[in-house]
């Protein structure tokens, strides 16, 4: 009884502090200060059609580096906490025929769609994170429909480590050959709106797509066995 009363007290103080978000809320009518600067001079300096991509990869590139570091720490933590000591022999039922036929038909299309999303990240909505998650869900479909599917752990480790290393190497190339760390100006900004524009952004997003895909596959594989 006393515990419920304290929980109610905490919630009422919390709502009371956040209430000005609803009562004194004046919505924006135009872009201000930094958003104005990013939208006005973004397309000329960075060269990408998708303004959110130019903010994520170039203007706030250090935040993306921090996010990749957090994903790596979480994957290491999951791999360290879950240990399987003994091999259990269990008999699993094979999957039904609809699932197997459907997987044979859909799997190349899912991988192709994932690669399309992260290669065209600077022209259409999308990018590295979305493409990586689509590839991971394709591999989960393969795990569910094929019982004797064994993932090659060596290939997964090599892909993940090489992607992380090449992301930092691209950043250092930007520092040496262009204006700063993770700048994309050391490859020429082509014609605005085509596939080979925006300098190094397609290459950086492809590297991020492979890294996110292989890390999330490692997490799901560890939880499955």
């Amino acid at each position: 009884m006393v515990k419920r009363f304290f929980v109610f007290l905490v919630l009422i103080i919390f709502i009371y502090q956040l209430l000005p978000l609803i009562t004194n809320f004046k919505p924006n009518t135009e872009l201000k200060h930094i958003a104005n600067e990013y939208v006005e001079s973004g397309p000329q300096k960075v060269g990408a059609s998708n303004l959110v991509t130019s903010v994520v990869v170039t203007y706030r590139g250090l935040d993306t580096l921090g996010e990749i570091a957090v994903l790596f720490i979480a994957t290491t933590g999951v791999g360290f906490v879950l240990k399987n000591k003994k091999e259990k022999k269990k008999t699993l039922r094979p999957a039904s025929e609809i699932l197997q036929t459907g997987t044979n038909f859909l799997l190349p299309l899912i991988f192709l769609f994932g690669i399309y999303v992260f290669v065209h990240g600077h022209l259409t909505p999308g990018g590295g994170f979305q493409g990586g998650v689509i590839i991971t869900s394709g591999i989960v479909l393969l795990m569910l429909s094929n019982i004797s599917f064994k993932l090659n752990h060596m290939v997964l480790n090599i892909v993940e480590s090489l992607s992380g290393l090449s992301y930092v190497i691209m950043g250092i190339l930007g520092l040496v050959l262009a204006a700063g760390f993770l700048d994309n100006g050391f490859i020429s900004l082509g014609k605005f709106g085509t596939l080979f524009s925006a300098g190094a952004i397609p290459i950086i997003y492809s590297i991020i797509g492979f890294k996110v895909g292989s890390e999330l596959t490692g997490i799901v594989e560890k939880m499955r066995k």
């Binding site: 929980v7 919505p27 009518t29 990013y38 998708n50 959110v52 259409t124």
Partner: protein, 117 residues
Amino acid sequence: MLIINFIGLLLIVVGLWAMLTQKNIIKIILGFSIIDTGIHLLIISIGFIKGKTAPILDKAVEMEKAVEKVVDPIPSALVLTAIVIGLAITALMLSYAVQLHKMKKSLDINDFEELKW
């Protein structure tokens, strides 16, 4: 918009109440995931300007007149990072829950009292 601020705030309150009063560890982790969704709704609703469109430049939105026609792109970039980090933290918490169940064979949080004084 004002109504989305209200929905986001209610989701945060429901998630916080679930984290404080439930006894099953899996329900506590579900409450954490609901708090995450509420916070992201609140952040994107602050960057919205009425009558303007998505921040992608193509034939509909030209490069010179983009300043008067696009929504703020900065909250989208922040929330993109936050969603992926939320998934990583939820996966780590679930692996802790599986390991705790192996130790004591129970999912009730009142059974783990080695750290109480």
